[in-house]
Amino acid sequence: MTEYLIRRLLQSLLVLFLITVVTFALIHAAPGGPMQIFLAPGLSQEAAKIQAHNMGLDQPLPIQYLRWLGGLLRGDLGYTFKNHLPVGEILWPTVWNTMVLMGTAWFLSLLVAIPWGIYNSTREYGFSDQLASILSYLGFAMPTFWFGIILQEFFALKLNLLPLSDMWTMGREGEIGDLILHLILPVTVLTLGFLAAYVKYSRSSMLEVLQQDYIRTARAKGLRERRVIFRHALRNALIPIITIIGLDLPYLVAGAALTESVFNWPGMGRLFVDMAVAREYSVLMAITLITAVIVIIGNLLADILYVLVDPRVQLGRKGGQSA
C-alpha cells in the first residue's frame, strides 16, 4: 500500500508538471494579452514598453514559465499584472469561500441521495422513486442560474425572508448564523443539481447489485431483507458511487461559477471568469493548478476507498489496479 501510494504520488507530480506546461502554453496562445486589455490605446510606445517590462511580459515565454515555476517551488504564486497584488492574497480566500458553499451542498446531497437511492431501489417505480425521477429531470434540465433567480425573486425580494446574495451581511462577517442564512438559497440550487445525479447513481448501482447471484443466494439462505441490503448489497453498490464522488471532487472548488455569480458568492469560479477576461495569467495558472491537484487527490482517494470497501481489490500484490 505504501509503495503504491508513493508511486502514485510521483506519477501525480509528473502529471501536474505537464499540466502546468500545457496550460501555460495554451493561456499564452490565446490572442490579446494583458497589455491589450490593460493599456490605453493612446499610451506612448515608450510608456507601453516600460509597463510591459514592469509586468515581466517582455521576456521570452520559456523564461516566463521558468520564473513562474521557480516562484511556485518557493511557494510564491506570483503577482497580478494589473496592480501587482500577490496572487495568493486574492486566491486563497476565494478557495475557502467556494469550499464552504460547495462542501455544504455536496455533503447535504450525499446525505440525502445515497439513502434515498437505496430506498428507491428496493421499491422500484414506487411513489418515492417516481418523485426522485422527476426531481432528477428538473435538476438536470433546469439551468442553475435560472433556478437561482427564481428562488431570489421569491424568497429574497417577494417574501423578504432571506438575503439576496453575498456570503455575509456587511459588518457581520464571521457570524455563523449570518453565514447559514446566506447559504440557504445557493445551497438549495447546488444540492438539487448534485442530488439529481447521485440519487440516480445510487439507485441504479444498487439495483444492479441486487440482481447478482450472491444476493439471490443470500436471500435463499433465508437472511432477512434488511441484512441482505445492508450487509451484502450496499458495500458492493457503493463502489461505482465512490468513483463518481471522487471524480466530482474538483467541483468542490471549481464548479460553481454560475451559482457564484447569481448569488454574488466571492468564490473561485467567479474569480476564474473575471481573471480569464482580464488575462491575469498568474491567477489562471494558480487556479488550474489547484483544480488539477484536487482532481488527482480525488482519484487517489477513490482508489484508496476501493481497497477499504471492495474485498476484490488488493494492492501491493501485483502492483495494484487503478480505476
Binding site: G42, L43, Q45, A47, N54, H84, E89, L258
Partner: protein, 575 residues
C-alpha cells in the same frame, strides 16, 4: 458548465462591456463636448430623489459596480471602477459644470479659473490655501509640480502622459501658485487640469518606475488623499468602504460612509437595487428598465452619456479581397448613411436612451454644430439614387456591382455585446434593402482590438468612443498624422482640409472662435463620412429610495462620472 454556456457568454459580455469602456475610455486623447442638461430633457429625476427637504447628516450610501478596482493612484487609472473611487477620495484641481466647462467649485483645489497669458501658452493656477491631505499636511504647489513632472517622466508609464505632452515646463511661483508653460497654443489643455494630484510628501522618494507597483493606490492605509471621503477598507472582489475624511478642508459632505459593492454582473446588481442592498447602480440593462420602473420606488435616469457609436470605414485597399474598397467614393458612403435607420436603432435597440448624431460632437455640447452638419434622415430611395449615380448596377443576385466587384463587406464588432449585435443586424438588413451585402462578424474583444482595430486591419467596424474629457478636439482619431500603430486613425482616413481644421481648432483659445471652427469640421466630416456616426448612447442610472439631493445637485449623465455629480451635497435616509 455545459448547460450554462449561454449565461457564461452573457457574463463575459458584461465584463467585456466594462473592458470596452476601459479600453476606449480614458484613452480618447481627444474628446467631445458635453450635452447641456437642458437639452437632454429627461435628465431630471422623475420619482422624487430631487427634493426640497432639508439634508440630513450621517448614514451610508452603497453603490455597486461589476468590476473591482485596479489601483486608485490617479496617475495610473484606466478603468471605470478605479475612476469612480478616485472621484470620491481625491479632489480635482478643477471640476466641470453641467455644460462641460471647467470650473473652480468649492470642492476644487484651485481657488479660481486659470489665468491664461496673452500668447495662450502660459497657465497660472492659484490653489486654495486651506486645502489639506488626509494626513493633515497642506496641499501645495509642490504637489502639483511633482504630479505633472511625474506624469511627464516616461519611466512612470502613466496613461496621462498624452494629456500633458504639450507641457514645456511647470514651476512653483509660491506655495499656492503654479505656472505651466506650453510648447504651443493648445486649447484642449484646460481639460488636462480637470485631474487629481498626488502627494509629494508621500511619494517623493519612490522611483518613477516603481510607482505603479507601490502600495499607494492599493493599500488604504498608505493612500493619502484629499477628497471628501477617505478610503478605509478593501475586501478584494467584494467591497470597498470609505468614511468621511476628518481632515477634509472643503464643504462637509452629508453622507458619512460610502460603500462600493462588487457584483458579478449587471443582472445581479439590478436585483440588489430592487432589494435595497445597493442604492445606486450606474447601468441598468436596457432590457430591464421597464421591469425596474414597474417596482415604483426606483428612480431611473434615462439620458445618454458621453459616448457615441459609429461605423468606421477602412480606406486601405489591403484590407479587402481584390484590393477593392467598395465605399471608396463619397457618394457610396453617403448612400450608406441615408440607408441606415438610425432613429429606429435608438428607439428599438436603445429603448430611447440615445440621440442620433451626424458629427463627432455630442448633441447639446458647447461645440455641437447643430445644422452645420449634414443630416442623413432614413431615406432608402435617396440611397439607391446615390448608388446609381456612383455607377453601381444591380447584379444577378440582387447585390450591386461595379466594374466586376460586388458591393459587399464585412462589419466587425466585439462578440457578446448585445447592443452591437442587434445594431449590426439592423445595419445588415437596412443595407440589404438598397443592394449592399454586409456580413456582420463578432470577434472576442481583446483579440479584436489587438489584431484588427489597433493595427487598422479591418474592412469596417462597429465600435464606440467614450469621452471622459469634454474637449471637442479629435485630431488623433481623424487626422492623417495619426495612422496606426501610433495613432487611432485606424481606418487610414486622409483629408487634408480636415487635418488643417483640427490644428486650427486646438490652436485657438477663444471658445466662440473654436465653436465656429468645429462647425466647419462638422460640415466637412459629415459630408465626407470617414465614419457613419450613429448615436450618442448611455446606460440608465438607477437610484434607490434612500438617496436624496436638491434639484441643482442631481446626477449629470452626460459627464464622465456624472452619476456622482455633486454627491458631496447628497444625503441618505438614516435607516
Amino acid at each position: 458548465m455545459r448547460k450554462a454556456k449561454k449565461w457564461a457568454a452573457t457574463l463575459a459580455v458584461l465584463l467585456l462591456a466594462g473592458a470596452v469602456a476601459a479600453g476606449c475610455g480614458n484613452s480618447a486623447p481627444s474628446s467631445t463636448g458635453t450635452p447641456s442638461s437642458s437639452q437632454q430633457g429627461n435628465a431630471t429625476p422623475q420619482t422624487g430623489n430631487g427634493t426640497a427637504e432639508k439634508p440630513v447628516d450621517g448614514g451610508t450610501l452603497t453603490f455597486s459596480s461589476f468590476s473591482d478596482i485596479v489601483s486608485v493612484n490617479p496617475l495610473f487609472v484606466q478603468d471605470t471602477a478605479s475612476g469612480d473611487i478616485v472621484y470620491l477620495i481625491f479632489a480635482n484641481l478643477y471640476d466641470l459644470d453641467r455644460q462641460g466647462k471647467i470650473a473652480a467649485k468649492p470642492w476644487s483645489l484651485a481657488a479660481e479659473l486659470p489665468q491664461v497669458s496673452e500668447d495662450g501658452k502660459t497657465y497660472t493656477i492659484k490653489l486654495k490655501e486651506n486645502a489639506k491631505w488626509s494626513d493633515g499636511q497642506p496641499v501645495t504647489a509642490d504637489d502639483v509640480v511633482f504630479t505633472i513632472n511625474t506624469i511627464l517622466n516616461p519611466e512612470t508609464g502613466s496613461p496621462l502622459t498624452n494629456q500633458f505632452d504639450k507641457v514645456e515646463s511647470v514651476n512653483k511661483l509660491d506655495d499656492h501658485t503654479v505656472q505651466i508653460k506650453l510648447k504651443q497654443v493648445y486649447a484642449p489643455f484646460q481639460y488636462s487640469l480637470y485631474n487629481q494630484i498626488v502627494p509629494y510628501h508621500v511619494l517623493k522618494d519612490v522611483k518613477p518606475k516603481e510607482l505603479q507597483n507601490h502600495p499607494f493606490g492599493k493599500d488604504p492605509a498608505k493612500t493619502v488623499t484629499n477628497g471628501a471621503w477617505k478610503w478605509s477598507e478593501w475586501k478584494q472582489k467584494q467591497y470597498l468602504t470609505f468614511d468621511a475624511n476628518e481632515n477634509y478642508w472643503g464643504p462637509k459632505p452629508h453622507i458619512q460612509k460610502i460603500v462600493m459593492k462588487i457584483y458579478a454582473d449587471q443582472n445581479t446588481e439590478v436585483q440588489a437595487l430592487l432589494k435595497g442592498d445597493t442604492d445606486l447602480i450606474q447601468a441598468i440593462p436596457v432590457t430591464q428598465v421597464e421591469a425596474v420602473k414597474a417596482r415604483g420606488n426606483i428612480n431611473v435616469i434615462l439620458a445618454p452619456g458621453p459616448q457615441y457609436e459609429y461605423i468606421s470605414f477602412n480606406f486601405d485597399p489591403k484590407n479587402f479581397p481584390d484590393q477593392f474598397v467598395p465605399f471608396a467614393s463619397q457618394k457610396a458612403r453617403q448612400a450608406i448613411a441615408y440607408a441606415l435607420n438610425r432613429q429606429g436603432m435608438v428607439d428599438n435597440v436603445l429603448k430611447g436612451t440615445g440621440t442620433v448624431m451626424n458629427a463627432p460632437f455630442l448633441p447639446g455640447s458647447w461645440a455641437d454644430p447643430g445644422d452645420a452638419a449634414v443630416k442623413y434622415d432614413y431615406d432608402p430611395e435617396k440611397a439607391k439614387q446615390l448608388l446609381k449615380e456612383d455607377g453601381w448596377t444591380p447584379g444577378p443576385d440582387g447585390i450591386l456591382q461595379k466594374d466586376g466587384h460586388r458591393f459587399s463587406f464585412e462589419l466587425q464588432y466585439n462578440a457578446g455585446n448585445s447592443r452591437r449585435e442587434q445594431v449590426a443586424a439592423v445595419i445588415q438588413q437596412n443595407l440589404k434593402d438598397v443592394g449592399i451585402e454586409v456580413t456582420p462578424k463578432a470577434i472576442d474583444f481583446s483579440s479584436w482590438i489587438d489584431q484588427n482595430v489597433n493595427p487598422g486591419k479591418y474592412p469596417a467596424i462597429l465600435l464606440a468612443w467614450s469621452l471622459t474629457n469634454p474637449d471637442p478636439d479629435q485630431e488623433q482619431i481623424f487626422s492623417s498624422k495619426y495612422f496606426p500603430p501610433k495613432g487611432q486613425n485606424t481606418g487610414w482616413y486622409k483629408n487634408p482640409k480636415l487635418d488643417e481644421l483640427w490644428v486650427k481648432g486646438y490652436s485657438t483659445i477663444d471658445q466662440n472662435e473654436r465653436k465656429k471652427i468645429y462647425a466647419e469640421v462638422a460640415k466637412e466630416i459629415s459630408t465626407d463620412l470617414p465614419y457613419v456616426f450613429l448615436y450618442q448612447y448611455g446606460q440608465p442610472e438607477g437610484l434607490g429610495p434612500r438617496v436624496h439631493f436638491a434639484e441643482e445637485d442631481r446626477p449629470e449623465p452626460s459627464l464622465a462620472y456624472g452619476y456622482f455629480y455633486h454627491i458631496i451635497n447628497w444625503w441618505v435616509d438614516n435607516k
